[in-house]
Symmetry: C2
């Protein structure tokens, strides 16, 4: 058993600094105390927290504690960690901030002492200056997550350095119905770092793709070795390209950003590692990896209700080194038969305002064309006709799933227009394992990366 399991499936938990007052850690305390996870609140001044018996310190808890979550003020953190060691706790998550990231020598020294404890004692520590972990498999979380609010379980696991950003990822993913599996925020990394988590996620059967937000790494050689040997796709976002950006990182989590060019050439060197510059792009692409088949070739077919967006997609296909699929003659002839005379039966197949009657038969023809490896569906239909005529979209979406499954080819849908139309699609994305985005460039980048990944990892 991996010693990091305690962070994702703890048998018993203590929250050190648990409080009913409205401050950091309040929602998490409330959630865990009322969950299936055996949780003990620790608070020096309270007898009860949310109706549960509270203890003055962790030593007093009458049972073994596997995981401690520390949310006390920075000056009390070192003492709390020492008490955890004494209690025989296996894992500690320090969420409190105010250590090396402040630039203050005293606070940095305290962080070093904690680091030494992790080195010398039989205990693993995540943090400080983070919001810990969330596991969507068993709904365990050490941060403010509302599992009832449409947060979907998926196959993407997220490694983030920053606490706030970790929670923001969850919120945004929920809005887009992007399913997540595990989230780990690392903070100042006195012990557990990205290498440990990559080890863990590599073996985690529920994780299919990993997104990694990085501010800097301490164990460079090991990091390179670990990244090199991963069998799962990793999407990396790394700040600190510039001097001012590097300085900002240092006052954020005390990390040294390092020479960006070295990172860049390193990320380019390894198959399956992709550097991304944009947070939305990272999750859109991760979701395509998580939900779609890998394309076996670079030939992309396009269906679109907007000729302009179809032309834009062509430019991007060219830019990214993909091919616009040469449709077979029979496909073009059959599309001509079912479509009005003003429709272009060439690729991109511009369905214009006829999308609703011609999309389904066209989709079938395109997906079964042996010259097509992947389909980009650009859905740009104004809200009004869909709403006015109550046009059902779900049969189209079901077809997409069935055809994708029967042909083993991926489909990405890009929805342009109002949020209402997008939400209409997203309602079905879980049910039909769809990959839905709002930007064509994200979709085509995803196809390119997925094709490359398939080529380099085709033995797996």
């Amino acid at each position: 058993m991996n010693d990091l399991d305690v962070f994702f499936n703890p048998k018993s938990i203590a929250i050190i600094g648990a409080s009913e007052s409205i401050k950091f850690g309040h929602s998490m305390t409330n959630y865990l105390l009322n969950s299936q996870f055996k949780t003990f609140p620790i608070n020096i001044g309270k007898k009860k927290i949310f109706g549960h018996e509270a203890y003055e310190n962790i030593g007093e808890v009458p049972e073994d504690i596997e995981l401690a979550i520390i949310v006390v003020n920075n000056e009390h953190v070192l003492q709390s960690v020492k008490e955890c060691v004494k209690k025989g706790v296996k894992g500690v998550i320090i969420e409190s901030a105010g250590f090396s990231e402040t630039g203050n020598a005293t606070l940095s020294n305290i962080q070093s002492e904690i680091e030494d404890i992790a080195k010398n004692e039989n205990i693993r520590i995540i943090g400080p200056n983070c919001v810990g972990v969330t596991n969507f498999m068993n709904k365990f979380t050490t941060t403010e997550i509302n599992f009832e609010e449409a947060v979907e379980r998926g196959k993407i696991s997220v490694i983030a350095q920053s606490g706030v950003l970790g929670n923001i990822f969850v919120d945004w993913a929920a809005s887009q119905k992007i399913g997540l599996n595990k989230i780990i925020t690392l903070g100042n990394k006195v012990d557990v770092d990205e290498i440990d988590i990559l080890d863990y996620l590599e073996k985690d059967q529920n994780t299919k793709v990993i997104t990694l937000y990085l501010e800097g790494v301490k164990r460079g050689a090991e990091f390179i070795h670990r990244m090199k040997s991963m069998s799962k796709p990793i999407l990396v976002m790394k700040n600190g390209r510039s001097n001012i950006g590097s300085k900002a990182i240092q006052s954020h989590t005390g990390s040294i950003a390092g020479n960006d060019k070295i990172y860049d050439s390193f990320f380019k060197q390894f198959k399956g590692i992709y550097r991304i510059n944009n947070f939305y792009e990272m999750f859109d692409i991760a979701n395509a990896f998580a939900t779609q088949f890998l394309p076996k070739g670079k030939n992309i077919a396009i269906t679109t209700s907007s000729g302009s967006l179809g032309a834009l997609a062509c430019d991007l296909i060219d830019k990214m080194g993909l091919n616009l699929a040469n449709l077979s003659k029979s496909t073009m002839e059959e599309i001509s038969l079912i479509a009005p005379n003003w429709i272009s039966a060439r690729n991109p197949v511009d369905l214009g305002p006829s999308s609703f009657s011609t999309f389904r038969p066209s989709l079938k023809l395109l997906m079964n064309d042996s010259n097509v490896d992947a389909l980009l569906n650009i859905f740009a239909v104004p809200k009004m006709p869909i709403k006015t005529y109550s046009i059902p979209i779900s049969p189209q979406l079901r077809d997409m799933k069935l055809l994708s499954r029967s042909t083993g080819k991926p489909i990405i849908t890009c929805v342009y227009g109002s949020r209402w139309v997008l939400d209409y699609f997203l309602k079905y994305s879980g049910k039909f394992s769809l990959s839905i985005m709002t930007q064509i460039d994200h979709a085509l980048k995803a196809f390119k990366m997925m094709f490359d990944f398939g080529k380099s990892h085709n033995s797996t």
Copy 2:
């Protein structure tokens, strides 16, 4: 009076091919017949359309008609145009598709005949293959727009080639509370083209910024001359960078995309013309131009609740040739006084989870710092605390408006996280003239373009 006024403020309208059946043009017919615009339905086989007397052809209408909207099938369009000429109609919008974009010689010839009519007769024609115009000032539209659904009137006017894309712009802008002024879709451009519309919008007092989606221009020299002498910022999106993209454009609106490098160097040459590659970016930046002061320098202050996103913004500031503002000593000292000890009083000002108590006083200090020219506010707060503690955001937003007005400096807010948090902000964007986006790169590009524009147009 400009002869294009008839397209935006017609005194009387005929819809040729008006129909009650659920097909293209149905909603527009219903809207116009029940609007303040005097509208006559023309249909060869019906006596009544939506309860209004219908005429067999436009010649029978007992009153003068200023504008005719043609939505009949392509084979009847030429005859309809001839009847419009006979009737003395001033402007015609041909929405029907199926002309030169099909590649069919007969249909292209019909288009040429219509082109000749526009040249030789006293009539102006928009289209074919478009959805005409929308004017948010008087709520006149020849397409499917629902003015009741939160479409805001603003200062951005939009020139689009494609019909579908035109409507999609409106839907998306409405979702983002981006206010529009006029939208013109040009289609195959037998007569009215982007040069005519740029002439018109240059003089239009309600238009402050123009977005232009382009597939190709026919009158190259005049186009360059017109663009060169515009006094308003123009954001251009031009497809057809690649060969396959150019081909797609030809089958879309029959346009010749032209050599992309020529366009590119041309767009770079003129002050106030900015090429954009992404539709969302185009509108985000247009909205910043429409709602914010131009920054007088390149020194950007950042407030953020996420250190990671603050660092990302620093990298982008560097990349775009902007400066991270050197805050004056007094600003930093005063921020230190009001903020918890773990907050970085340097720029970027990382407010972390304290954003709610420290944002307003920090904002005031930063906006009044003479070393600061513009403020980027990165709001990355998870939904849960805002919802759980019912934290009010509107006082912060009001402060932003008042401080922007008193200092003459722009503010752009980037909201990261759930759609719910974004919508919370958008509720106030109209009231407080806010510029709200979801991507930091759009915000910083906007600041850069607005600074450049101010520098080159500072006499205006």
